[in-house]
Amino acid sequence: MHEEIIIAGFGGQGVLFAGQLLAYAGMNEGRHVTWIPSYGPEMRGGTANCTTIISDEEIGAPVVRRPSTAIVLNPPSMDKYAPLVKPHGLLIVDSSLIAQQSGRTDIREIAIPAKDIAAEAGLAKAANVVAIGALIAATGIVQFETVVELLTLKFGQRSQEILAANKRALRLGADYVLKLPA
């Protein structure tokens, strides 16, 4: 197994955190992992993206030009990354913010209203976690439970409320995908 996931959006949408979450999960499941961010010229408010690789083999390049999966959380990222996903790859799109579609037929495209779902879960900011839930449901790249554990580690001590919302977001994201027609 060798998965390269790019997650992209505006700064502040938690794309870096989402990527790290995956990397931690991969590591905890005994895999090789790398995570690497890339910032735009802007301090804040610009675009941000990161690449997480989870692999059974030692990882060479931590950067990829064409990921096997892309999660895009804003329109510019959609424009940039949708065409780059490898054939047979996966594209996850936050349809709350992105109206268009990639138009590609050689990949699997999941449009999920992540932001709205997050709001529904009680934490509008957790669209990133919704997207991770969707990714897990679509690929099984890591175990759902591994991520729940990590969320617990991360938020558990700070606020039970936020933790619960994040768990809900993860669950709802996964459920949304599981309910999609296959």
Partner: protein, 362 residues
């Protein structure tokens, strides 16, 4: 085995702390700032010295000062900041005190950008400062390796009473990878015979790089050169991958090497027998081993994130009988595995002369 996910900058900082770092001085610059930030919290916690200096110039001279006083000391920066340290580095070398420098190289020249680069090779390896001196330059290609090299860098610096550089780039500095951290070392050490600790019960000591009489200065230089020969004899480090059956040798260091590794895997999958030679010490450069390999594998592809700086050393090692191609990306561009693969695929056995370089610049 306790694997933790560490960001490169922070991992290096923690490795330095565990390796015995007693005094850190630095100035923010991307993509190294997280290292300084980490230590701004960690060092005071441990009661060790941390100063955010007013500049890289001040930082390197604080390091110089702490080093004369006997501290295990370090600074970190990125390319333009390292340029500003050249005078200080020359002084440190000339007065034979130990220290560790981390250079998270970025795209240049000038202000350039904050993307990863390897164009400080010459500056670090050939001496950016004036005078005849060398730093021991270590180029990790994983965070684990960066941790190990940093952890041991202080011992090396002290053994040879000189500068040890950890030469990495934004890829290494800003990525995260699982790491096993080495244990915390005790700090504090016996008097080493040269450090400034107050002339109590002994004649005073002077640490200076002056030799106004050229004869005296030449003696200092002879001592330095002798030590450099010793380092060349003891400390050459490199890694080889799949060189046994290779028809083609990729030579690359640091993050370019790990990227090349992906290309090599792909090439092998397509039946092209490629090996990797990765210098870990950029100085002393592994001339000898590379020369041996080139006898057997006379086709080499040098991959760097610069316009061909290590290339000179490769040429020096292998001589004109080998075919040396070069693939370089500059200005913060990172070569992608596919590009390297294309170079591997397209490498025709045409001779290249020493005078003219075959530089592929996109």
């Amino acid at each position: 085995m306790n694997r933790e996910l560490w960001e490169g900058n922070q991992a290096i900082a923690e490795a330095a702390v565990r390796g015995g770092l007693e005094a850190y001085f630095g100035y923010p610059i991307t993509p190294q700032t997280e290292l300084l930030e980490y230590l701004s919290k960690r060092m005071p916690e441990l009661g060790r010295a941390f100063v955010q200096a007013e500049s890289e110039l001040a930082a390197i001279n604080m390091v110089y000062g702490a080093a004369t006083a006997g501290a295990r000391t370090m600074t970190s920066s990125s390319s333009p900041g390292v340029s500003l340290m050249q005078e200080g580095l020359s002084y440190i070398a000339g007065s034979e005190v130990p220290c560790v420098i981390v250079d998270m190289m970025r795209g240049g020249p000038g202000l350039g950008n904050i993307s990863p680069g390897q164009a400080d090779y010459n500056q670090l390896v050939r001496g950016g400062g004036h005078g005849d001196y060398h730093s021991l330059v270590l180029a990790p290609s994983t965070i684990q390796e960066a941790v190990t090299l940093t952890y041991n860098a202080f011992d090396l610096a002290e053994k040879y009473r000189g500068i040890v550089v950890i030469a990495a780039d934004g890829n290494i500095g800003q990525m995260m990878e699982p790491v096993v951290m080495p244990p915390m070392r005790q700090i504090g050490h016996a008097d080493r015979g040269w450090e400034l600790s107050g002339a109590a019960g002994r004649p005073r000591r002077i640490i200076s790089s002056i030799g106004l009489d050229p004869e005296v200065m030449e003696r200092i230089n002879a001592r330095l050169q002798a030590r450099y020969r010793e380092i060349e004899a003891n400390e050459v480090r490199f890694a080889e991958r799949q060189t046994e059956d290779a028809d083609l040798l990729v030579v690359a260091f640091g993050s370019a090497a790990r990227i090349a590794q992906t290309a090599i895997r792909e090439a092998r999958a397509r039946g092209i027998r490629v090996g990797l030679f990765r210098p870990i010490t950029l100085w002393p450069f592994p001339y000898q081993r590379l020369a041996e390999l080139a006898q057997r594998i006379p086709r080499l592809l040098v991959v760097e994130m610069n316009a061909g700086q290590m290339l000179n050393d490769v040429r020096l090692a292998v001589g004109p009988q080998a075919v040396v191609s070069f693939y370089g990306r500059t200005g913060g561009q990172v070569p992608m595995p596919e590009e390297i693969l294309a170079q591997i695929g397209g490498m025709a056995p045409t001779p290249s002369t020493n005078g003219a370089r075959a530089i592929a610049l996109l």
